[in-house]
Symmetry: D2
Subunit: 402 residues, 4 copies
């Protein structure tokens, strides 16, 4: 495969932590694409996914648009990019339709890498100055934004390679998820708790405001449901018993022939799973991953349990009783993605970042093996539609105290 | 039009309040269909709607299946009806696909009316005896169930007639919604409140258990948003400003060309609205009706407000500060339809009644002009997918206290 | 079932053959609907089919529009009907969308029957006069048009009842197709032959002009392929061997799971067939019916034969060597439906009758048990898209002389 | 853009005309892709189109499968390629679904170029020997096959680049179509003519057998309809008058908003056209291109003419009265794509080459500026579904002699 050589952004970052964070984050994106060819990076494998090249450009466009465009002396790399690489910001004008991002064979990858270098260079200049707090906040948002796209690069890259009959590995050296003991339920007292973000540290607008909420006493498992436990669910007819499923979930099972997690496929030697390391035998002790909310909910019902609410999850996480919090798989909660009491979206176009997606989605908590280090936190609210499976999702059980 | 003459069920109901309730409820269904012909009652106008004839049979099947089938000496009216008129109970076997209910020209209406008489007769016998509490509870559920279908008969009947270029009235004598003053915000203190159903009176399983929840202080309007206020929203570009809409809502606006409430249409004399009384001029003082959740949410954002949560709504209703609670239109809340803490679905097949629909839907509270008298209550949780518009929905605003 | 009593049109027709033909034809339509209820006649079972009530009105609208509307003193029955019952005449303005004909519960059947009586009455007056040749030609066209809809009433009625899990008979007294000996190939010399319509007798515009065409010598079977022969095709894997199928046909087989003719269904006692007499055991000696062009073509390939062209069919029919010409099933030919050399569509709106459908369809020749007596003739060109199966279609084989 | 360097196949071809033809043809394919990057060649812009990389591999697979696979000593380049690069040969087993050819980022372009070199090398060996006539015929078929894909590379490449908001040129040096005088009708006598292929020279199976057919006298234009003439049709409401259109064509106009040829777009300076040279102003004297059959048919009706049949076209071409025969645009005929009398498909898997597509398509005659030199001939039958527009199609008028 023809690999591509990427320029390393050269930014002086000593004594400037934000510049340092920016530089490291940008370099990490390039590290993620090292195993991919230009061909791998241009194709869109489904409307939910984006080409990796598009991610490279869009994250760069974010910095150009929200931080550089109005700086004196900054020269737009290419005025067409505003149309090509805007994702969903209505306030910023029309854009390439989402499902047609994979038609952009031009500009070629080399141009996008030059675009990244151009913007890195300008950001480097900006980051040398003393910046107003608002500007720093926008840079932190841009960093967090690109970190989200780093996870998407792995999700979308895995999805693309999984469509190939050849099942090539994204990166053979990716570590496998560790196994371990099964989870144990931990009793939590509930009561009037506080959840949500407060303070100066960076968080997305949807994590605030910190607020009180009332919880009944409950139990929550300290570890995630494993592949081995999932196999027991399957062997007990989990995918063929409508009584275990939400009505919408059962409709998905029937329409799409679901009979195992998203990336599992049966082979002569038993179930295998498509991973970043290619097709692998199922590890019974490792957490199950790439399941929809509907599957997580059905499993929980089968197990005589339920999914925790996001408030339960956050309270338990704050109390330190959870393992596998953010290193393996995002954990579906039983909470719909809705605004917190008193929620205020960010001002201007960045106000579209989170708030306008607050319908039709369920909250996931934690973090995953695809999430860049340092990105997640206990107040973090991830969200996806309940039928999606290409994210790195798993589940953790909860129970009422009767 | 050839009208049909319906037999009146003759049940001795003195001193037996449940028998009385049953008889009156069943007679009300027949009163609702009096203006309709057999042709009107066989057609299905969209997959969400059902033919009125199907409603007549399905509600009857409910009593036959859950109460009569296993009674000694009861003779099934027709064994095929289990397949034809089961709605969605997986535990009760296969059924006529929902979208094909309108293909059932046979059995004819006359048979369905005979079916109703047959079941009424058997129920009358059953209701003369002293019944176990469990049986009484099932009868109450059957009554509440048919009451829900009474509202659906009006919803689906209106939808069918609205598809006709002739715009015929369902019933010209239907009263119009009253106008009145605009709403005023009422301050509510919040705090630890209790919501949900408790006690012996009938309620659906999804209203229980009664439980505590914490509310921030808030304001809630004592009246519903009016047609006149909605016109101001429209004139201010409400349907063409993406910043006012949830992302999924904006997609609906664009895909379906929404530019006014569901049953509005422009005429030379201004906006008109299809109602049970046929096409009528818009009444500015009457509450707006037949809007989706997305529209309600967009209006609230435009008005600098938001939708109340279902807990806020119920707390305010319990405090007696709301007008137009249940006599005009169901009110969209900002709450997703999810189980209450400690929720337990009913046992057996009736456990499918509510619980399996707890995804992808939003809660509406109150009641509507289509709801039969006595059906709704302050703990009642109605629910629909956020894009639906054929229900009699409206909205009431709420606000945070800053 | 509540049957409906239909008024018999009373027209004095002695000595007026056209009046006589009109009256008999109109009465035959009413005879066809006698077994149906108003409910049966309002429902549309698929977009290709129309409600029987719509057929009743549309055929009447044809006479009103093309013959009565401009007669002095004629009063339109209802001005709305021009919108409701126009089928596809662009020159006559907008119309009820085809797929929504089944939403017309109003006007009720009783109004449509009154409409028929109103138009019959006016036509009766018209037919008493001496008419210009052009007017007589339009009346003949109107008669032939309604005869086509008589066949559609049976096709659409059968389709509707076939959708019912109860499989009710349209009319139990319908005669079954006769069996008989298998077909024998008849040698035809080919050469320069003439086909197409000429002369004064009525024919559709698409049958003209009569013209010369050159045929190679060929063989054509004197009888239709039977159910028994079709079973042999099925048992030889006919529906699972892609080599037998046109590419588009194989796509249909796979997408729709075709494994037998349209109305066949497997039972414990072998294959059964839905017919106007209800569900019946397959008669091995009777011609196979309700097959698509793709199936006919695949069968012919399997049998080492092919379908005749329409010119071959017409030449052989003219020579009198064919049996089962028009009494059982229309016969798919290998000819696409295209204009004859020198084809001229009728003038005015009736020019839309045939010509604009000359793409994407295949010609069938002959006639069927559903075709009213006297309607078909050897030059008749029936046409349907190659995947359609709800018509009464069969096949007759042909072969090249090698 | 990172261009790719392609190895030149080195085959000794002196004195071996078939080897020479093979080598030149293969080199021409590589010349066609010179302006494209690997990114351009991996993406599939619509289900009808294929990625250029897929064309490169599939045409190579054809030689490997039909000529090399069973040669002693030949080593398959990669056994997976049989699945990846089979197009539609059912006899050769399952294959990558057509609509998912664009997901094959692996194998990378470099591997496909190595595959081409591997097969070229083996073919070179084969071509040195004296070959049986059957083998030579298969090689000629393989050459003609790849020539067809050469045209598809240009069609699909243009389609991909036309989807880009940047409208990049495929190759700026591509010559523009020449203008010239308008066409004149040429009178042809008709009568009993012979059409179709006979003799030893290569032709596809669908061009045979040569056979007699009868033609009425007719007129045919000696030149193609121009852009300027098409503009007159547009200005006369051509795209908004249903009377000009076939019913299926009018449905396409309305569903897809057709208002000009496929690659035309309105600009401030008038109509422009996307071409291999990028976006260009319309040349009024050049032939109109990239129109569907429905548009060609509507134009002809507007012009008081019709499309010629394929027999008329071939007879006129044989008589030498036509200009612009095969150098600008394929010409839609009024003939459906059906087998000639006595048609016999090739034996074995190559029998699927043409015969199974003989439904639902119309014949085009001539050749186009995208067709490689020497590929077309007067008996050549090109065919596409009537709504397709991405082919290089135009039209030539014909008329009946009245
Ligand atoms: Fe983004
Ligand atoms: Fe129900
Ligand atoms: Fe008609
Ligand atoms: Fe090919």
């Amino acid at each position: 495969m023809d690999t591509v050589h990427y320029p390393t952004p050269a930014v002086t970052t000593e004594h400037r932590p934000l510049a340092c964070a920016f530089t490291k984050m940008r370099a990490h994106t390039l590290a993620l694409i090292a195993p991919l060819s230009a061909e791998d990076m241009v194709v869109q494998s489904m409307p939910d996914a984006s080409p990796v090249k598009w991610h490279l450009a869009h994250t760069t466009w974010f910095f150009e648009t929200f931080l550089l465009k109005d700086q004196p002396g900054y020269k737009l790399f290419d005025p067409d990019y505003a149309y090509l690489f805007n994702s969903y910001y209505e306030a910023l004008g029309p854009r390439q339709p989402r499902a047609q991002r994979g038609l952009l064979t031009r500009p070629p990858l080399a141009d996008i890498l030059a675009y990244r270098a151009h913007v890195d260079d300008a950001m480097s200049g900006l980051l040398e100055a003393d910046l107003p707090a608002e500007t720093e906040a926008l840079i932190r948002l841009g960093i967090a934004h690109e970190e989200q796209h780093q996870e998407l690069i792995l999700m979308d890259g895995l999805h693309l390679l999984a469509q190939s009959p050849l099942k090539p590995a994204y990166c053979p050296r990716t570590p496998a998820d560790a196994g371990g003991r099964q989870g144990r339920f931990q009793l939590r007292p509930g009561g009037l708790v506080e959840i949500g973000h407060a303070g100066e540290a960076f968080a997305f607008d949807n994590e605030a405001p910190r607020h009180r909420t009332w919880l009944q006493p409950f139990e929550i498992s300290d570890r995630l449901v494993t592949n081995g436990e999932w196999l027991a669910f399957m062997q007990d007819g989990g995918y063929s018993r409508p009584d275990l499923w939400l009505s919408d979930g059962w409709a998905q099972v029937q329409a799409n022939g679901w009979n195992a997690p998203f990336y599992w496929q049966a082979s002569e030697d038993g179930w295998q799973e498509m991973t970043l390391r290619g097709l692998q035998a199922i590890a019974p002790g490792a957490p199950v991953t790439h399941i929809s909310y509907y599957e997580a909910d059905a499993y929980a019902r089968w197990a005589g349990a339920r999914l925790p609410t996001e408030a339960e999850w956050e309270a338990a996480a704050a109390d330190g009783v959870l393992e596998q919090v953010d290193d393996v798989a995002w954990q579906w909660t039983g909470s719909a993605y809705l605004p917190y009491p008193g929620f205020l979206p960010g001002a201007g176009a960045v106000g579209e970042y989170n708030g306008k997606f607050m319908s039709g989605q369920m909250v996931l908590r934690g973090g995953s093996a695809f999430t860049p280090a340092g990105h997640a936190r206990p107040t973090y609210r991830n969200f996806f539609a309940p039928e999606k499976r290409w994210l790195r999702s798993g589940l953790r059980l909860a129970r009422d105290i009767s």
